[in-house]
């Protein structure tokens, strides 16, 4: 057994708002797995996802300042949100490549940058740092019989040389984690398609169309539920699901879980601690049917 | 067309050891393209950089060269399959040695110039000439060479002992 794992933690704005259950389940799961998690003091918005379309220097500076704050806490930086992950990694990548931009940003945030801290998505921590074996050993209640469609969305693996998370077009890291906790994963076509993310506010029509294709494909593949690792994807797939069902006159009824909720469930955490009650598509009937509650 | 030529107090001697297939041909191309570069360089043609013995570099410095250029085919382009790789490895080690004996490595330059890179040849030669001119004459090795033209007297007891043992 290696020494205790310790991370600094950047929850991101969504996890303090609409995705409170992601934050809650993350903290509870890490506690359960004895992984240290210290919230970055005084962190603020990373700018995802509009800032980089409007002002590159601003978007880089927002992330750079957060990275600088994170350096004050011991351990690699754990990130839960795929969009924050993407922005923070992009910032590291861009500033490592360009001295000019780095100097501009250092001036903007009025601090020198080290940029040598690692930014890790929760998935990487579970699958690689903790490791699938140790994860499997922590399972108290395997998710037997639960058929999960793992949804990656677009930002976790793309662009590959920035995120460097897994194979860009055919990743398996989510499936690996879920199999380790005893669930069944389905093979489906839309794991990597975009859900529309924050167009949910400005162009809901686009989002409804894109998200419908995702839900339809998951349902066709025989999934009981969908698992995500991003609050934006979650918002579109979960909160919008009822509306989509109305628009397309279909009935999906697919609960959408955060990865930490499903893994937490397998590790024996209660529904309350995982914030399962906060999900819009009620997961309780499914979980009861599968005898997981 | 004659541009005003600046007179310098010191004109360095540069010796270039080049392979015939790439860099020599590149230098030829600079000629056929009528490019201009300082007249300080003297070119020695080898079949391949692989033939260039590090001793030649030492010899060049001893003979009064102020700068030495070694140039051959780009990695992978060697006419003799891999001679330039052997050369690269050899000179990587040799540089360390030169540094150890106190030669300023700025005086020794390695480069890859292909038969198509007349312009690069001009650049490399011009840059090295300017650099070495600013560094001034290379005296250490000449002095050393003179010292080593020794009288033949064996002046330490250890050497004497060794001599007698032969």
């Amino acid at each position: 057994m290696k020494d205790k794992l310790n991370y600094s933690y950047y929850p991101g704005c969504s996890l303090h708002a609409s995705a409170g259950e992601y934050d809650l389940s993350t903290r509870e799961l890490f506690k359960q797995l004895s992984i240290g998690l210290t919230e970055v003091p005084d962190w603020f918005c990373c700018g995802a996802t509009p800032a980089h379309n409007v002002d590159e220097l601003l978007s880089l500076s927002l992330c750079a300042k957060n990275l600088e704050l994170a350096e004050q806490v011991e351990g690699d930086l754990a990130v839960a949100c795929a969009a924050c992950f993407s922005r923070l990694k992009t910032t590291q990548h861009v500033l490592a490549e360009s001295d000019v931009k780095r100097k501009q940003v250092e001036k903007a945030i009025d601090a020198p940058l080290k940029l040598d801290g690692k930014v890790k998505h929760l998935l990487e921590i579970l699958a690689r740092d903790l490791g699938l074996e140790r994860l499997a050993a922590s399972v108290k209640k395997p998710l037997a019989g639960l058929k999960v469609a793992c949804y990656y969305g677009c930002l976790l693996t793309r662009p590959p040389d920035v995120t460097n998370l897994d194979c860009v077009e055919a990743p398996t890291i989510m499936e690996d984690v879920l199999k380790a906790v005893g669930a069944e994963t389905v093979a489906w076509s839309h794991r990597m398609e975009c859900c529309g993310a924050n167009f949910t506010l400005s162009r809901p029509g686009v989002v409804i169309q894109l998200t419908n294709a995702i839900l339809e494909s998951a349902k066709e593949a025989g999934a009981d539920c969908v698992m995500v690792a991003c609050p934006l994807c979650h918002g579109n797939l979960d909160i919008r699901q009822k509306e989509i069902e109305g628009v397309y006159s279909v009935n999906y009824g697919l609960p959408v879980f955060y990865i930490t909720q499903l893994v937490g469930l397998a590790c024996g955490l209660s529904a309350d601690k995982l914030g399962l009650g906060a999900l819009i598509v009620n997961p309780m009937p499914l979980l009861k049917e599968k005898q997981l509650l | 067309m004659h541009s005003e030529k600046t007179k310098h107090d010191f004109e360095p001697k540069i010796i270039a050891f080049v392979c015939t297939w790439c860099t020599y041909a590149g230098a030829d191309l600079a000629g056929t393209s009528r490019m201009q570069y300082p007249a300080n360089v003297r070119v020695l043609k080898f079949p391949c950089t692989g033939r260039i013995d590090p001793v030649f570099i030492l010899k060049a410095f001893q003979q009064g060269a102020d700068g030495v250029l070694v140039s051959g085919c780009h990695p992978g382009d060697c006419h003799y399959i891999a001679g330039n790789f052997h050369a690269r490895r050899r000179f990587a080690a040799f540089r360390k040695l030169l540094e150890f004996v106190g030669v300023d490595l700025e005086r020794l330059q390695f480069s890859w110039v292909s038969a198509a890179e007349g312009g690069k040849w001009v650049e490399v030669v011009t840059e090295l000439t300017e650099k070495v001119r600013n560094m001034g004459p290379m005296t250490e090795f000449k002095e050393l060479a003179l010292e080593e033209q020794w009288s033949g007297t064996i002046d330490t007891p250890e050497l004497k002992e060794a001599y007698n043992a032969i």
Binding site: A170 | G31, A39, F46, P47, G50, D53, K59, H79, H86
Partner: protein, 665 residues
């Protein structure tokens, strides 16, 4: 004391404009050892050369320096002239005072001073030049051709027709290669087998061609004109001399359901088989991994039914050694596959296309087998999954090719044309079907090629969509193709029944290990490297080895055949002489100093260094020293710079010569 003659050329005004040639001649004339120095308007002209020859004889010159242009320009000219005057040609050197001096400097004083120094260096060098004899090596007038595809067949036939023996080695049980698999060929749509099989038969019947099928190259020794090639003849389990090719063994073989590689695994074959009916030689081979006799010891049916008694379960691999003078490498290509590649591999697969797990997503070669009249479906276009005729078919070009993110940046050159052909074949066979093609660019440079491509659109109604495909997935019994049409700027989604991928041409797996046996170089993809991209496109840098076909780079059939005939012509040029002459710039070992460490052997890229035993008169071994085979030596001199005891010397570039030049500074 040497009597050196120095001839300074004006080169019209090319040199004399910036170099005071008379001053150069005057100054150099004073140098020790120089017996004669003059300047002349055009040294390379006929009167110039006559002056040179006359002076050598009149002045009894021992060495010559011509100060003129680059030796790359006229060294041969002047060495010939010197030879004609009775001197050894290697006692003549050129001082380059044009490309390296007059053309690159403007200041006359400076240029003249430099010219004097350059000539001085060459004067000192030439003093140390030695008489070098021309080296001759004998030529074995037999040729080896590796690979029995169209390239190897063409080269073998051309060489053999010229009257020289050819050993043709093919790895598979039959010759024919990829061309034998094709249905019809662009841009004429003639049937590939119809034009290919007669050539295969010609090979079999040619008295000058020895065909070793089901054989591989084990080892290559020797050098140009004198190679020794060891060939592994893999155990066929059928005696080629006894077998009549009646085929009864194949009929009786109880194992029937082995996917046939020749049919891209769509058709089935027995355990004793010929890959296709027109195979040459028409001798079956036993696939020992699938044969019941070899797996369990039972069965033996084929042996029982074989009239001539040709089936031999005891047969073992045999090694044969063939002496040859030249080698043509024509090993062809493999097709890129979209499946998952090992971690860390330079080449990546297509996860977005399901890594090859969707059954009705096939490659172009599989489509060829479907379209072929002798193929597994008898020429009907049918889906592998359910045997239905696809009504909507999507062709995607540039799969792997020009895809830097997948690790291949080159263009495979033939896909645009064969995809156009596929759309035609499809339209001819499925009249109510619709073909779509996703493409980046249509590259159709070739005689009657663009016309052919246009025809696929204008007459055969293929819909070409400029853009790439981002994802393929199975939806029910359809394959959803998500792509973009960049000409219109919209996303396109097509529900196809079948998808055909124009996958990249790659060198054969194992091309690198064959190259290492042959001592030839290859690029990062493992394509074999020609000696010069433009002027020596069929020769390897290693003398006596020539390239033909796709092993050197992607090529279509006409280009392959041209290159094969060119390689054959090179072989015949070599064979036109009984002995080979070569420049005597080779390394020589000074045996007295050699300690036999063989550091030289390690760095020699040509394998020219051999071990030589030195014995006394009683035959006792004194020591083992290095010996450089002058026929093999490339003349790079890396051995000399490496030798710790300075016991090997490159003629023409000895330490003495080089140090003399350095000391002249």
């Amino acid at each position: 004391m040497s009597r050196i003659g120095v001839f300074v050329c004006h080169c019209g005004e090319n040199i004399s404009r910036t170099v005071d040639v008379e001053r150069v001649a005057a100054q150099v004339g004073k140098m020790p050892g120089v017996a004669f120095a003059t300047d002349y308007k055009y040294m390379c002209s006929d009167p110039g050369q006559t002056l040179l020859k006359k002076t050598i004889q009149e002045q009894k010159l021992s060495h010559v320096v011509v100060a003129a242009c680059s030796p790359r320009m006229h060294e041969k000219t002047f060495r010939k002239a010197v030879e004609a005057a009775g001197l050894n040609p290697y006692l003549c050197e050129m001082a380059n005072i044009r490309e390296h001096c007059s053309w690159v400097h403007e200041d006359k004083q400076e240029a003249t001073a430099k010219a004097i120094e350059i000539v001085g260096m060459l004067v000192e060098r030439v003093k140390k030049n030695r008489v070098l004899p021309t080296i001759t090596v004998p030529v074995t007038k037999r040729s080896l051709v590796i690979g029995g595809g169209i390239a190897g067949i063409q080269a073998a036939l051309d060489i053999a027709d010229c009257g020289h023996e050819v050993i043709l080695v093919e790895r598979e049980p039959s010759i024919g290669g990829h061309m034998a698999q094709l249905s019809e060929t662009f841009p004429t749509l003639d049937c590939s087998q119809c034009i290919m099989t007669p050539k295969m038969v010609d090979v079999a019947n040619h008295p000058k061609i020895t065909l070793y099928s089901y054989s591989e190259i084990e080892q290559v020794d020797g050098y140009i004109g004198n190679f020794q090639v060891t060939i592994r003849r893999k155990a066929r389990s059928v005696d080629e001399d006894k077998c009549t090719g009646c085929g009864i063994c194949m009929e009786k073989c109880p194992v029937k359901k082995i996917p046939n590689k020749f049919d891209c695994n769509l058709g089935m074959r027995p355990a004793i088989y010929v890959p296709f009916p027109q195979a040459v030689p028409n001798t079956p081979v036993i696939d020992r991994d699938n044969c019941i006799k070899f797996k369990t010891g039972k069965c033996g049916l084929c042996q029982k039914v074989c009239g001539p008694g040709a089936v031999d379960y005891e047969q073992e691999d045999r090694l044969v050694v063939e002496p040859v003078g030249a080698i043509v490498v024509a090993t062809g290509f493999d097709l890129y596959t979209i499946d998952e590649k090992p971690k860390g591999s330079m080449i990546k697969g297509y996860g977005e296309f399901g890594h090859g797990k969707i059954p009705d997503v096939i490659d172009g070669m599989t489509f060829e087998r479907l379209a072929s009249a002798s193929g597994p479906t008898g020429g009907k276009i049918l889906r592998p999954s359910d045997g239905k005729e696809p009504k909507q078919i999507v062709f995607i070009q540039c799969i792997g090719s020009r895809a830097r993110e997948k690790g291949i940046s080159y263009c495979s050159k033939v896909c645009c044309m064969y995809t156009a052909k596929h759309t035609m074949l499809y339209h001819h066979k499925v009249h109510d079907g619709q073909a779509y093609v996703f493409f980046m660019d249509a590259r159709t440079p070739g005689k009657a090629y663009d016309e052919f491509w246009r025809r696929s659109i204008e007459e055969e109604e293929a819909v070409y969509i400029r853009g790439m495909v981002s994802r393929l997935y199975q939806k029910g019994d359809k394959i959803v193709v998500m792509g973009s049409d960049i000409a219109v700027g919209v996303q396109v989604e097509i529900e196809a029944d079948m998808v055909v991928l124009a996958t990249a041409i790659q060198p054969r797996t194992g091309a690198d290990s064959l190259a290492q046996k042959l001592g030839i170089s290859y690029d990062k993809y493992n394509f074999y490297s020609e000696a010069h991209a433009k002027l020596r496109p069929v020769e390897c840098a290693t003398a006596g080895i020539y390239l033909a076909g796709a092993c050197q780079g992607p090529k279509d059939i006409p280009d392959t055949v041209s290159q094969a005939s060119a390689a054959a012509a090179k072989v015949m040029t070599l064979f036109a002489k009984d002995k080979l002459e070569r420049e005597p710039i080779v390394a020589r070992v000074k045996e007295a100093g050699c300690v036999g460490c063989f550091a030289c052997k390690k760095v020699c890229a040509y394998g020219a260094v051999e071990e030589k035993e030195i014995r006394d008169r009683q035959g006792n071994l004194i020591k083992v020293v290095a010996y450089v085979n002058p026929g093999v030596c490339g003349g790079c001199g890396t051995c000399q710079a490496t030798c710790p005891s300075k016991s090997v010397e490159l003629d023409g570039y000895t330490d003495e010569q080089i140090v003399a030049m350095i000391e002249a500074l």
